[in-house]
Subunit: 223 residues, 2 copies
């Protein structure tokens, strides 16, 4: 796939995002499509993690990826090169995606594709995306070691709304003051139910456990 499809998504004029998100989720349930919303700071490793995830799951699950960015189509090209159906969503400066913007992307992604697992790579931002239900079945956040272990204290909502937190770039932990135990404790303060998985997307360490979790979620949703 050489050409990357770029969609300019626009924010809904409707204020009732929660209702529209719930409706989208219901429709996805009926169609047997699992939507994952993946969030993080800029540069925490969303795209690299997705590449690894796709490598592990693409032979058993049909995956499609929506790359949301304010500008550029770098990420959609990367994912297309990894061999999955991939579209780029341009938010026109918006700092997050809401349910209607996600629906615009899904309309394109799901057309004639048989996608079972749709992954939304949200805008790189630890603040705003957490405030908007996209209609996803599960929310995941990536926190990378260089960002520091205190982030769950400073960006509480992100960690409250996430079902799983991937601690990425653990290979560079020796070069940073990052205490995995303390970080996990901070995450649990925000969200006692959150699953925490340390990974290194670059080397693939820990990604198997994350892929296992995701596979189980997709299977549960489709059954």
């Amino acid at each position: 796939m050489d050409q990357v499809r770029v969609i300019e998504v626009k924010q809904s004029v409707f204020a009732d995002n929660d209702r529209r998100a719930a409706q989208l989720r219901q429709e996805l349930k009926e169609r047997g499509v699992f939507l994952l919303n993946l969030m993080s700071s800029p540069g925490a490793g969303k795209t690299t993690t997705l590449k690894r995830t796709v490598e592990l799951l693409k032979d058993e699950i049909k995956i499609g990826v929506m790359e949301a960015d304010i500008d550029s189509d770098v990420d959609a090209r990367t994912m297309a090169a990894a061999g999955v159906r991939s579209i780029q969503l341009h938010t026109g400066g918006m700092c997050h995606l809401d349910a209607d913007m996600t629906r615009q992307g899904l309309d394109e992604l799901l057309a004639e594709s048989g996608v079972e697992l749709a992954i939304l790579e949200n805008v790189g931002n630890l603040v705003c995306p957490a405030e908007f239900d996209t209609g996803a079945v599960k929310n995941a956040a990536i926190l990378s070691v260089p960002e520091g272990d205190d982030k769950p204290l400073k960006y509480p909502l992100m960690f409250q709304v996430c079902d799983v937190v991937l601690i990425n770039k653990i290979d560079v932990a020796p070069y940073f003051d990052f205490d995995l135990e303390r970080c996990t404790e901070y995450i649990r303060m925000r969200n006692p139910e959150a699953k925490v998985i340390p990974i290194c997307a670059k080397t693939g360490e820990g990604v198997e456990e994350w892929a296992k979790w995701l596979r189980e979620q997709v299977q549960a949703w489709k059954s």
Copy 2:
């Protein structure tokens, strides 16, 4: 200073932020106060850079710091421990500061203090803070090596509005795919005038050059 003053700032109901920011800047000019707006992703090293900056400049310039965060007062405590007047601004979930929110912080910071250089550490976010003029005389952004050299492509506005970009954590460059030359080129695509200074806030490398730039800006503003 054991007690950290926490201010709950509220977004203005006024839509004309640009006019109010210009008015704030004019008032600061008349009072001889230089306001720096420091922005970055979460965990790029704003607070550590500020600590270093304060060490280098506090004997010659009276500095006050406003730490904006959604929650927690970790950063204001750190700065108070570094020996500068420091207040914490809580944004109540807001992802950025506007001119009126900044004014609320300044009213507190400047009261009876003789502060000449007020530094606003904005919310950790590469998107939204760039959209709101805070009334600052100059804008600075920190981009850290682990975030990747492609960030100016993905978050164009941040790099357009900044007068100076500090490339932080250059000590860990060997462990990441980060090309300083390419990154500088991307920044210049967004903003040909931007000054780019590589630093390592942890070790202090490069911070002298940044402090020199800031000292000159403060002097020029007061003259």
